[in-house]
């Protein structure tokens, strides 16, 4: 008796054999290596990132030092009347002083732990209810992709997935040194950082380009349908000051 896996693979092989000549000819018609970027290269990566992030509906800020970055964050938080936050572990966000700022603003840090193996569904739901009204999610970011205004965010221990997703407002801190030109370059940088199989140690990577949006009603653009309705990106460029 054969397993479904064996049956399916046998059917697939039979199919390939019928059309092998065509498929192999087609696959050889172009190289498969991705271009590092697909738009004409901009002179100023940071300016391109800012422009593209804005085009995608995000709010980027260029901050020359940690102090400026904290100022910007403080302003965003007070404008939104934020009182509770989901954050990554502070060690995972490249901005010293963030914890002190949240304490000083009396913003409660909620426990982002949702998955505890062995817990019941009711316990999981309770964890989710505890964070569902968080005002803001604050995370770091692995990379910024200049030509699309995209953040690359690898999650893992101390870096919750829901931090970037659950609250109506998301603030991400991105060191300017982590800007790359295009998607191909971004994957190269991720492999450099996490090894050739970037998912060996990490289960989740998200590329975020602007705030959550939909055009499903009369193709009218509306933000915040499921994820954050506002995305603020703090680009920390300490070299700019020097």
């Amino acid at each position: 008796m054969t397993t479904p896996r064996e049956r399916m693979l046998a059917a697939i092989r039979a199919g390939i054999n019928t059309n092998r000549a065509f498929l192999e000819a087609e696959m050889q018609k172009a190289p498969h290596t991705p271009p590092p970027h697909v738009h004409p290269p901009a002179d100023d990566l940071q300016a391109q990132f800012v422009e593209e992030a804005q085009r995608a509906g995000a709010f980027p800020y260029i901050c020359a030092d940690a102090e400026a970055a904290l100022d910007a964050i403080q302003k965003i938080l007070s404008e939104h009347g934020a009182n509770s936050a989901l954050t990554w572990d502070f060690a995972q966000i490249d901005l010293p002083g963030l914890e002190a700022l949240l304490n000083q603003m009396q913003i409660t840090r909620l426990d982002t732990t949702v998955t505890v193996c062995g817990e019941t569904q009711a316990q999981r739901v309770a964890h989710l209810h505890a964070i569902e009204h968080a005002s803001v999610g604050i995370s770091g970011a692995d990379l910024g992709i200049a030509e699309s205004g995209t953040l690359a965010v690898m999650t893992g221990p101390g870096r919750g997935r829901l931090t970037t997703l659950f609250a109506p407002l998301h603030i991400a801190v991105l060191p300017a040194s982590r800007l790359v030109r295009g998607l191909g370059a971004a994957f190269d940088a991720l492999r450099h950082q996490y090894g050739s199989d970037i998912f060996a140690e990490h289960a989740n990577l998200t590329l975020i380009t602007g705030p959550s949006r939909t055009g499903d009603i009369e193709m009218t653009l509306t933000t915040g349908v499921h994820g954050p309705g506002e995305l603020h990106i703090i680009v920390l460029n300490e070299e700019e000051a020097a």
Partner: protein
């Protein structure tokens, strides 16, 4: 009766008479087309990128057995489970049994064409499982009991007034025509569904063989919530959606969003490799990947293998003047537009009049031109027509007419005589004005919308022969 169950011609007539739909198509289709063109025009080398994308899709198919094996092995090594589903029933069965075993009560789902192809919701509802669609467009049509009318804009056929009314009735929203209010209402209601759900079901845009990564692309973020909030994540992937590597994916992602909506990247492009890892604060405890065949391996060995290169961007729908005229529902199946006319007869043979779909095209080629991987859709539509004729699916009298046509065209004397006869008759009926206002069936359709010219008094070849003499007649 739902539109989808009607005969094809009635579905078309319904669509053409539906003024809401006509208004939506007229307003929105040109926007999709323009956004796509603008996005692709800005690339350094659009043609080269599309050539690459096509070559990569061809590689995925040429090495499908090997890549799927690698994908499945990697997923299992990362603690995920893999189900090889030969058909839709096997997929539904697997999920239903999993849900029962895990005492699942509530399921949230992000948009997945593969799951709609196999009527997964109906299969699960038959097991008393509740499935909530979370893509806003899909949620709207689920509430209204319809089916998607467009691959990437499922509720494009509805007005804001209709949707407002629906939300008032089903969600208790205060009367409004304000779209952000409707969106906020949906967010609030669906967020509770996410929190309560014990299982999330998603589709897969691409599966990466080398790392076992599932790639999901949305603008709303509903796939992210579907795959990270509930305890169990089930991903359904058509077997053709595999790519070998992150590098291959880097090319495919560059054409997907641009072709679909004109965005450089969709808002959320999410990669998931197995269940949550030790030490992670969130993510699913269990991950199940369903590899769905449901006729795809048969297509791979047929004259339609190229259709499996499709990445479901919807560009061919938007570009198609027939789709622009009738929208998605008239196609009857889950897949509409030119790609739907090719794959519905192959993947959803139970759609009423499915053999008619390949005839719903002028073969103008706009679809192939728009397709990011240049699928030769018109050639395949033509082949499907040939298959339908070979299978005897022809209108009464059609075969006789074609036999007569062949005899006429292959016999110059008969051809001349036929032409002379047509000339005499049409000029007699057409009279001084020189046009025919009404043709008899089966040609009557022509004169419903336009006049028909009379044949010439003397054909070109007769005139030429009269002026230049005749060569020896070849046979």
């Amino acid at each position: 009766m739902a539109t989808q169950m009607l005969p094809f011609y009635d579905r078309v007539e319904d669509a053409l008479q539906n003024s809401t739909l006509q208004h939506a198509l007229e307003r929105n289709m040109p926007r999709f087309v323009a956004l796509r063109a603008q996005a692709l025009n800005k690339l350094i080398d659009e043609a080269a990128l599309r050539d690459q994308a096509r070559a990569i899709r061809a590689k995925s198919l040429a090495r499908l057995d090997e890549l799927l094996t690698r994908l499945a092995d990697t997923v299992e090594a990362r603690g995920g489970h893999v189900c090889w589903a030969t058909d839709g029933k096997a997929a539904g069965q697997y999920i239903a049994e999993l849900a029962q075993r895990q005492a699942v009560k509530s399921i949230v789902k992000s948009k997945s064409m593969a799951s709609e192809e196999i009527h997964l919701n109906a299969q699960l509802e038959a097991h008393s499982l509740e499935v909530i669609e979370t893509d806003l467009g899909e949620y709207i049509i689920q509430l209204s009991g319809e089916t998607p009318s467009h691959i990437i804009a499922p509720a494009i056929h509805m007005t804001r007034q209709e949707i407002g009314q629906l939300f008032q009735e089903k969600l208790g929203m205060e009367p409004t025509e304000d779209i952000p209010t409707m969106t906020r209402t949906a967010r609030r209601v669906l967020r509770q569904r996410f929190v309560q759900a014990d299982m999330g079901i998603s589709g897969v845009n691409f599966g990466i063989a080398e790392s076992g990564g599932m790639v999901l692309v949305t603008n709303e973020g509903n796939a992210d919530l579907t795959t990270s909030v509930p305890r169990i994540h089930v991903a359904i992937m058509g077997i053709e959606r595999v790519v070998e590597s992150l590098d291959d994916l880097a090319v495919m992602l560059q054409v997907l969003a641009r072709s679909a909506t004109g965005q450089k990247l969709s808002v959320y492009t999410t990669f998931l490799s197995g269940p949550t890892r030790p030490g992670e604060p969130d993510g699913p405890e269990e991950f199940h990947l369903i590899l769905l065949d449901n006729g795809r391996s048969r297509i791979l060995g047929s004259a339609y293998a190229e259709a499996l290169m499709c990445i479901r961007c919807g560009a061919c729908l938007n570009a198609c003047p027939v789709y622009q005229s009738i929208g998605g529902h008239a196609y009857g199946g889950v897949y509409s537009g030119p790609i739907g006319s090719v794959i519905s007869p192959l993947l959803q043979p139970d759609v009423p009049d499915v053999h008619q779909l390949p005839y719903a095209s002028t073969l103008c080629g706009a679809c192939q031109e728009a397709c990011p991987v240049r699928i030769a859709l018109p050639d395949m539509l033509l082949r499907l027509r040939g298959d339908a004729v070979q299978a005897g699916k022809v209108a009464p009298g059609e075969q006789a007419a074609m036999t007569a046509w062949q005899a006429t065209m292959n016999n110059p004397a008969l051809y001349r005589a036929g032409g002379t006869m047509a000339s005499i008759i049409t000029r007699l009926v057409g009279g001084r004005e020189g046009v025919l206002k009404q043709l008899p069936p089966p040609l009557a359709g022509w004169t419903q919308h336009r006049d028909f010219p009379t044949f010439a008094k003397q054909s070109f070849s007769e005139r030429w022969a009269a002026q230049h003499g005749t060569d020896e007649e070849p046979q």
